[in-house]
Symmetry: D3
């Protein structure tokens, strides 16, 4: 499994937007799941106010331009929209590395983000923290905060931060 | 037509809430209109996040407790909900008076709100301002601001404000 | 398994609210899941604006008053709040019945809501529709709409609606 | 009256955005109406948080680039903004056809959306459903759901869907 | 200066709500500041959708019932509303203690929240973290996370947590 | 001090977006302040719904393209994100002039916006109005409305508006 990716700028990204005002809101969970399964980078829903007092949603999908047709097919199939729009975006992405740290409740994964070789982000993996919290019946916040602290210690030992 | 009502505290009000996550959002306009036709005091929709990534809405209806059954009947009929909740509220309402003012573009109505006999609110009537703006093809904001200014002048002449 | 419950008014409900402005938003999914596991009736999150330009959330939990201490313990444990508030609510609940309908893609469950013996709601079960959509690789909206139509037909045969 | 339009990709669209934090919120209804009267494709309002704890709105207008100056004139005239921005968008639009269906309560229009000749959307016309619901004093949801079902039947008869 | 308060339940609280659709949104910052100056416990703003496509706000104020008249006077004076409502709430509050911790960048205050004598919350003081971040020109997140970690260590030394 | 700038179209602007779902919401105030200190044109936060029931935020920054690297450095440093995206925007900006008006409570600044030499906006300076309201202990809305009226009078005297 690849657990390292280098810093880069990607100028082949697009944001696809669908403005929806006539769909059962229950469907969004299924649609988000389907979009991630297709391989898109991110999905989010923005509550908006549309004509005639309609509480609509703008469904935002970030993906590479080469996935465009596949994503648009999926959106026409699963949502109720008659029109879909997109615009190009350029994305800056940090170098990412996944490290293992030892917490009081077990081993946890922490995502490290680097900019020009220097650590800027230390982010415990949510699902791993949840698993440890459930297994040990302790608050999720304790597990998460301790995993982050262990991540900071790892960084410090590598002389990359805080000194 | 009654155009004056006295300041009072009403402790017989309720707020009815319906949390909706499976209804076509187009229906809200119709439902709001129907609720106002029943005689409720106010209606508003709050975007919320529900389980399973559903962008839901909380429909809030403010009305007197004695209208409760009628409103609940309507909500079960027109929304998709299986449960409706309410809680009592006490409402402070200002004395209201509707005055006529003369703007450059025609006569406008202004709502005056008084607390213990003293003017605290000066609010041009939206629909009247819209009518004047359309008729005279001037920006709505100019009409509204001038109607408000004329309202302030009326108050000042009555020695109730600004001196 | 009980699949029928009668119409009633429950005046022993409360809404618990927690206003949160300093918690990692990733935690909400875990907290919602934990609250439903405790047996609360509903949970939803409202985006709000707090002091100092903080985009906060009000976490709303609807539950019976007798669960109050258990829910409050959980919320202090899992969120970052130092204060939790609640207020009583009365809830009207429809009679609920779960029926089985046959769609082109397989059997589906539909929830029927009745008010004074008369059907007012026809709601296909989301998870069942999702399962059929995935299994048959058809749009979820088709499955859902057809299950609803079959639900309406069931009601019609029972002479309870549309005639 | 034209009731058919073919599927196409339009790369001459723009999204105009205005971020507003100092305008009377009553004006939005009038502004939306005015924008649709100009012929824009869509308008929606997004609640946002601005500096100094201001609950602002981003007014989004989708229109063809050739309408740009006209729309910008209108927005400077009717809103309070001192700056307006836009960015190009490409829009995918389905082939649209309007069909008539017969419901228990009268004739209704249903919008059909097609992708590469295949039906993907079946959308009853909201205003027509509202008219039938009012005229027959039945819930809007019943009218809408039946009109949709009749739309699906029409599609099925045309062998375009569900088989 | 008192820096300790005991755990308690306060059943003399109210939530005051004002639904506003015709006020310049710039005013909210001033109003929030004024409300806190009066001594209320909390204030937050909820974006809502009101009639006629108005993006309104519900201004929520939590305070003790004995402050009610003072707060209502202020709200009628500073907002544009003609009606203000409230409902009683009961609030559970944790025992609070403010401790000092030493970070790499200087001393910071951490708020400790206890339930039945047991620590459940460890919350660095935002303003103090901001001051240290500015002074030392380091990311606020580093200061905050380290202050929290030092708070956890203090708790651990007191044998109240994590063992 | 420059208090006049001419109308222009700026096609060298960008909108930078960061979607954030794992950061303490307290940090946004500090981040907004820091961004304005860098010299960006505008910042706003949009509440969104992300995967796994996370109430996230999209942080939007409008700035000139030549500031891009500086802003992106700041955002990686102060937020928790691992990716930042941007897209170009063209901005129309009105001619701006700052005038002084005399209100009953003291001198106030009013921003005047002109399109092709004609006044379209009259906007009292918020901070100045706040200072006068506090100093004179009168409602902010009175000060603001009067400053605006005086601004309209200034415009009228210049024969640029309302005649």
């Amino acid at each position: 499994m690849k657990n390292h990716s280098s810093e880069h700028i990607d100028d082949q990204m697009i944001k696809i937007e669908v403005t929806i005002d006539d769909m059962n809101p229950e469907f969004y969970g299924y649609i988000m799941e389907g979009l991630f399964a297709l391989g898109v980078n991110d999905v989010y829903i923005q509550p908006v106010i549309m004509k005639k007092n309609r509480p609509g949603q703008v469904l935002n999908v970030l993906c590479s331009n080469k996935m465009r047709e596949k994503v648009i097919d999926f959106l026409f199939q699963e949502t109720t929209t008659l029109g879909i729009r997109y615009t190009p975006y350029t994305v800056y992405r940090l170098e990412r590395e996944f490290i293992k740290v030892e917490t009081k409740w077990g081993e946890c994964t922490v995502k490290i983000g680097k900019r020009q070789g220097k650590v800027v982000q230390v982010a415990p993996e949510y699902e791993k923290c949840v698993a440890l919290a459930k297994e040990n019946q302790v608050p999720l916040k304790w597990v998460y905060d301790q995993a982050k602290e262990k991540g900071y210690q790892w960084v410090k030992e590598q002389q990359q931060l805080l000194d």
